[in-house]
Subunit: 142 residues, 2 copies
DNA sequence: CCGGTAGTACGGTAAACCTCGTACTACGGT
DNA sequence: ACCGTAGTACGAGGTTTACCGTACTACCGG
């Protein structure tokens, strides 16, 4: 009864993904949906906090200028993959982006319309502000 | 030679505020100017971070709806005075508000025009978003 | 002159945050 | 069937944050 595990796993949890609905989900959710906040659970403070980080702002700008879904790897950040994953999750959990698995990639899209309905003009103003600042300082600055 | 000090001060520094210009400033700056960032040193990330806190957001909303300067004590927050001071400083250092001493009070005002020049529509959008959310949830909510 | 009000500085705590490295899982192509 | 690519979970380190309490300073009014 030697399972296929390369390492000698002591024994405990042979239960793979088990799941139920948000309970287990130990690893990745195959081709399934990821937890996204409903529009009425999106909080301004969380959105602003999500946008207040340079890395995440860069992601949002890239998504906006692309105007379409982008894979995580499509948005290059000067951090490791783990950190990148972290930032994308913060953006998703705050309601700024929507994520979905597509093949081996995870696609990301701005929740533009939903945010517009909740906070009219906010996203546009932030994106414009980011552009303005990028133009003001050298495009490669802070 | 019994000085007025309740405690027995050894003797050393009878020099009161000494100062020079940002060097000493051990305590309060009398009726003087406080350090504010120049418009070109205001960073979007810092502004958003400042606005991403509920307490600070409350301050900004109060200042906006008042349309005029308000003393710190005029803006009631469910925190101690020290914490309040902390939040006002974050707002000032990020460039969101301007502070000045007036008598025993410290007056606070939004740097609306300067922010508008840097990030057109941003402050308005954030304020509108805060109002919208306050209306959506009970005005006494999160 | 004395007390009250307004605000600060300092020190401390507990939580949150950003970052990384390592080890792992899924999907797709050769 | 295997390897590579894309992304995750977990744990840990170091910094920042929000909050408080205490002790202090400045200004105003009686």
């Amino acid at each position: 009864m030697m399972v296929l595990l390369p390492r000698a796993s002591p024994a405990p949890p042979p239960q793979p993904p088990v799941d139920e609905c948000g309970a287990a989900m130990t690893t990745m959710t195959p081709g399934r949906e990821l937890p996204h906040p409903e529009p009425d659970r999106i909080r301004l403070a969380e959105v602003l906090h999500a946008l207040a980080d340079p890395m995440r702002m860069r992601v949002v700008c890239r998504l906006a200028e692309a105007g379409a879904e982008l894979a995580c790897s499509e948005v290059e950040l000067p951090v490791t993959k783990s950190t990148s994953t972290h930032h994308f999750r913060v953006l998703r959990e705050s309601g700024v982006i929507r994520q979905a698995y597509r093949g081996t990639a995870k696609m990301n899209a701005l929740r533009g319309e939903e945010l517009e309905a909740l906070f009219p003009g906010l996203l546009a103003a932030v994106l414009a502000a980011a552009d303005a600042q990028a133009a003001r300082l050298g495009p490669a600055e802070d």
